[in-house]
Amino acid sequence: MSWVHNAAEKVREINRTYAVPRIRLSRTTKVVLVLLRVYLLMLVGLLLYSLITRLGY
């Protein structure tokens, strides 16, 4: 399981490296971006639902 530990450590290292973003987003922008993401993921979910029903599962 050492590779899982190493991967997690690498992810933590990446998070530390990029912890301070160069672009400061306002709270409103952040909220809009999160909403856009959630909305797009919801659309993808609907597409998958559509695919599953089309295939008759």
Binding site: I14, Y18, I23, L36, L40, L43, V44, L46, R54, L55
Partner: protein
């Protein structure tokens, strides 16, 4: 002292010679810079793209041609931004997002990209295996040979060699264009029903779905990551930007010409046939009746899948390599960029395995992957637009107001279409489906 007629003539000749020399020099620079734009745009017409264009021609005849003509400039607008961003930041798109927005948005973008890339590579293998099945080659053989070929291309360890080989493979993508001149399509109908915008059968759910698939095959998230990383790996500089723009424009033209040719071919041979499900099936059906066209269709489909697999696998490997700090240049030898190549091999093996699932509905999967890619595209485009508006990042290559309006409109149209399709899939009676 007034100039004599002969000295005026000499001056004109020397001016002409100077212009000719300058043009030749510019052409030589263009030849050196050309690559990332052409490859990304031709890879646009990947196996999923070929199937999408074939089905739009078969289902709606010439009426999708104007959409494809419109999508050429749209693809140019999106991809040109990646050139400026890559040249000015010297960062691939994934790294640029991590640096600019922090890890939260970085991981989001990277996971979107990896997921859609894996799905897209699946469609490339679907196309390639279907094309080779026309010649009686079993899918697993096609997959093993293709993966081995893609990995062997990196043996040389030089970006330039890789690029020239891939450009040669891209040239085969134009194989469909000459076919149009031999099948004598109804030119009047092409202009009447293809070039003039309209939806002869209304804007119902299936039409919206196919429009989204067409957009999804012309502009996709992986293209943004690919071209930016490619520009960085090639080492393009600020002075190369005008040539890189030409590179992108030439690529966009190739894409549109090939796509229109495919729609015409599909209309001529399958116009009105709503039972067609994939380009591979179309090639198989044509073989007994028109063996030359069937063969060309199969070769083109295989080639499109190969370019797609080459480029899409590279897009996510570059992105993951940048973020994880692995050696990720095509100038590195196979062993030097170990993890980069292991990752690339892994996503191809995973994608290839999906294709081998017995009785998987490969045609439907191909279309859905294009639609999922376009649904996730606005997120990638929004980051691209925000980055291109940071003067401290891109200096004078910042987006102009016109560029922002165009890019913003593309995001708006995609969001509207995605919503329309989603609403249509929940309430089908709204569109009379």
């Amino acid at each position: 002292m007034s100039a004599t007629p002969s000295s005026t003539g000499m001056a004109a000749i020397s001016r002409l010679y100077f212009r000719y020399r300058r043009f030749r020099k510019q052409l030589a620079i263009l030849a050196a810079v050309i690559g990332p734009g052409v490859i990304v745009m031709v890879a646009d017409n990947d196996a999923g793209g070929i199937t999408t264009y074939m089905l739009s021609g078969a289902y709606y005849r010439f009426s999708f041609i104007w959409i494809v003509l419109l999508l050429g400039p749209v693809a140019y607008v999106c991809q040109e931004m990646t050139v400026r961003l890559g040249v000015m930041t010297k960062r691939g798109h994934a790294q640029a997002i991590f640096e600019a927005f922090g890890p939260f948005w970085g991981w989001f973008s990277l996971s979107d990209l990896t997921l859609t890339d894996c799905l897209t590579i699946t469609t490339e293998f679907i196309g390639m295996t279907m094309a080779m099945e026309v010649f009686g080659i079993p899918p697993w053989i096609t997959e093993v040979v293709v993966i081995a070929f893609i990995m062997l291309l990196l043996l040389n360890g030089r970006y330039w060699t890789w690029e020239k080989i891939v450009l040669a493979i891209c040239a085969v993508n134009m194989i469909y264009v000459p076919v149009v001149f031999f099948i004598h399509p109804d030119v009047d109908a092409i202009f009447r029903t293809g070039v003039v915008p309209g939806f002869p059968e209304g804007l119902g759910g299936p039409v919206v779905f196919l429009i989204m698939a067409t957009i999804g095959t012309t502009i996709a998230p992986w293209m943004i990551f690919f071209q930016q990383s490619s520009v960085v790996d090639k080492g393009l500089k600020k002075r190369d930007v005008p040539y890189a723009r030409w590179d992108t424009a030439i690529g966009a033209t190739f894409t549109v010409v090939t796509a229109v040719a495919l729609i015409i071919i599909a209309t001529v041979f399958f116009g009105g046939d709503t039972n067609l499900t994939s380009a591979g099936q179309a090639a198989g059906l044509l073989m007994p009746l028109h063996p030359y066209v069937g063969t060309i269709l199969a070769i083109g489909l295989f080639d499109a899948g190969l370019i797609g697999a080459l480029s899409v696998s590279l897009a996510s490997s570059w992105a993951v390599g940048e973020v994880f700090g692995w050696s990720h240049s095509l100038n590195d030898r196979l062993g030097q960029a170990k993890w980069f190549n292991v990752f690339r091999l892994s996503i191809m093996v995973i994608a290839g395995s999906i294709v081998l699932i017995p009785r998987a509905p490969l045609g439907v999967i191909t279309l859905f992957v294009q639609v999922i890619a376009v649904t996730l595209l606005p997120a990638a485009l929004v980051f691209l637009i925000v980055l291109l508006n940071q003067e401290e990042l891109v200096g004078s290559y910042k987006n102009t107001r016109a560029q922002n309006i165009m890019a913003g409109s593309i995001v708006g149209v995609i969001l509207a279409l995605s919503t329309l399709y989603a609403v249509g899939s929940i309430f089908p009676y709204l569109f009379g489906v």
